[in-house]
């Protein structure tokens, strides 16, 4: 059965959209990641205009992160003060990002920029994850890996010395607000540009650079994701008119169902095996994006602004 996406201005068999949502939800449940970085490229691959894919993906992530954020909030895992500092950065970054998207669409180069940024970020994250999990896999054969919290490191001590110091009670930290704000800005900017939640950047940043406890980092990340993506959704709707609610609802339906199967499947795999599998998927998507940038296109003429906006 076909379903018409009124903002994208095209129709698809609804099973295709729910299926993509389901696939990303499955991977999300399996790997414990947001999946926004896979969803936008997949939507682009089936022909959804990049601007609609990214904006609708932000809205879908807002829905997907809500229940997790609420659960962590109830469990007291959200550092509200830290979350608000990151959120202010996220709102500023998201607002700037939406204006950049508008400018790039006017220039007709949004398609190129989104693919290039995906290649860089997926390439970096995928490679780092692949190498790290490969090393862990090797080490685990000889010795058991030590778990537990990451202690203060040189980087977190350096950032703690910067101005605008604040005390973050829930995280048990006294550090500068500059870095959390900057990280929030970057994630908000990427949310607007790529339609990602940014958990793959924010969680390691909070743990390794800011020095937050892991569980508080996860809870605070989900809290800021909900509000940052809500801001990006609103800004995209107002500035670029590219949020397709029909697409969002179908994707979310698929992702919720897929996630249940993903969580069950994750019980059959070890942590490092899961990470190595995820890194391969991330690198494959990156290669496809890179291929699209390098290979002579079928048609050298394209619309400057596909769908949405006046």
């Amino acid at each position: 059965m076909d379903i018409f996406l009124p903002i994208a201005g095209m129709s698809f068999n609804f099973l295709v959209i729910v299926g993509i949502g389901g696939l990303v939800g499955f991977l999300s449940g399996l790997f414990g990641v947001g999946g926004g970085f896979l969803l936008t490229p997949l939507l682009m691959m089936i022909g959804v205009p990049p601007s609609v894919a990214a904006a609708s993906d932000s809205n879908q992530i807002c829905a997907a992160a809500t229940s997790g954020a609420f659960s962590h909030w109830k469990l007291g895992n959200v550092d509200l003060k830290m979350g608000l500092v990151i959120l202010i950065g996220g709102i500023v970054g998201g607002t700037v990002g939406v204006q950049v998207v508008k400018y790039l669409r006017e220039m007709g180069n949004f398609d190129f920029v989104i693919r290039a940024v995906y290649v860089l970020i997926l390439g970096g994250v995928g490679s780092a994850m692949f190498v790290e999990s490969l090393n862990t896999l090797r080490k685990s054969k000889t010795a058991s890996v030590q778990g537990g919290e990451i202690g203060p490191n040189k980087l977190s001590l350096f950032f703690a010395r910067l101005p605008f110091k604040m005390h973050f009670k829930r995280s048990g930290l006294e550090t500068s607000a500059i870095f959390p704000f900057s990280a929030g800005f970057l994630v908000g900017f990427l949310a607007a540009l790529m339609g990602v939640g940014g958990g793959f950047i924010m969680v390691p940043t909070m743990i390794y650079i800011i020095g937050m406890p892991t569980i508080v980092a996860v809870g605070t990340d989900l809290f800021q994701i909900v509000l940052t993506t809500a801001n990006v959704t609103l800004q995209q709707a107002i500035t670029n008119h590219t949020v397709d609610l029909v697409l969002v609802v179908l994707l979310f339906t698929g992702s919720v169902i897929g996630a249940q199967f993903g969580v069950r499947a994750s019980r059959f795999l070890r942590g490092e095996q899961i990470r190595i599998l995820l890194s391969i998927i991330v690198l494959l998507v990156m290669v496809k994006m890179l291929f699209d940038l390098l290979v002579t296109p079928d048609n050298v003429i394209g619309l400057a602004k596909a769908a949405g906006g006046h």
Partner: protein
């Protein structure tokens, strides 16, 4: 005086009847079954059937479908920069229809002589002549018009918005009638579309008919588009509220513990 005026008026009316070209020939086609295509949430393109009767045996029928609302659009020309393909020029393309299709019962080259081509102003060549190209960014080059027009056609044909299909209409020789299906792709937009039908024999137009069909978004599809374009802030707030409510609801249903 009054009588002279009436005589003059009658003379003018009779003269006009001779000089203004009449609607040519007999009925060429009739539209079936409705003059409206609705784009609801389940729209995946729609096919409208037409039927008609030709005035004489051995007549060729040509049908042209053209959108009435044809705003200018911006297109980009991609080029290789270092290793990567990206937009290097931007153009504004105007005076070309958003949707353009031609169907015929014979080969167009056999049916249309040069005079008829000029008179009817149909086909891709006519579109290319009408097209106006304005360079917005980048450096001009001699091949811009050809490259843009060819790429534009390719883009439109790929999305089912343009097409020339010769020998696509079958004529029933027993009763000189024809029937064909016109498919509106899912990429069509709201507005009126003019369908012109010509019956041609030996280089002479025997009949011409014109009909208009409207495409309209209805129901949720109309509401979403209207809200997104005209009340974008409210639409954005609705999108966020729906996301949060649906997200919480799903969390309660599946009792999921976390993860995003």
């Amino acid at each position: 005086m009054k009588g002279t005026f009436i005589k003059t008026l009658v003379l003018v009316v009779v003269s006009l009847a001779f000089f203004v070209s009449p609607v040519k020939g007999e009925t060429c086609f009739t539209l079936l079954p409705e003059k409206k295509v609705t784009m609801g949430i389940g729209f995946g393109g729609e096919t409208v059937s037409f039927k008609g009767t030709l005035p004489q045996p051995g007549t060729t029928v040509i049908v042209q479908v053209k959108s009435e609302n044809n705003p200018s659009l911006k297109v980009v020309r991609k080029g290789r920069v270092v290793f990567f393909w990206m937009s290097v020029k931007q153009f504004e393309v105007s005076y070309v229809p958003f949707l353009y299709k031609i169907f015929s019962s014979g080969n167009l080259t056999d049916v249309l002589n040069e005079n008829l081509k000029k008179e009817l102003n149909i086909g891709y060549d006519a579109l290319k002549q009408n097209l106006r190209l304005k360079l917005l960014t980048g450096k001009p080059s001699d091949d811009d018009l050809n490259v843009v027009f060819d790429g534009f056609l390719k883009m439109k044909e790929k999305t089912g918005l343009y097409g020339v299909r010769e020998n696509a209409i079958e004529i029933n020789k027993e009763n000189n009638s024809f029937m064909f299906d016109l498919h509106f792709s899912d990429r069509a937009v709201e507005g009126n579309y003019t369908i012109t039908c010509w019956a041609i024999k030996d280089g002479v137009i025997l009949g011409e008919t014109q009909e208009t069909i409207a495409i309209e978004k209805v129901g949720l599809s109309h509401w979403f588009t209207y809200m997104a374009q005209h009340h974008s802030a409210i639409y954005g707030i609705i999108a966020v509220v729906i996301a949060i409510v649906v997200g919480l609801l799903a969390g309660f249903i599946f009792k999921e513990k976390g993860g995003h």
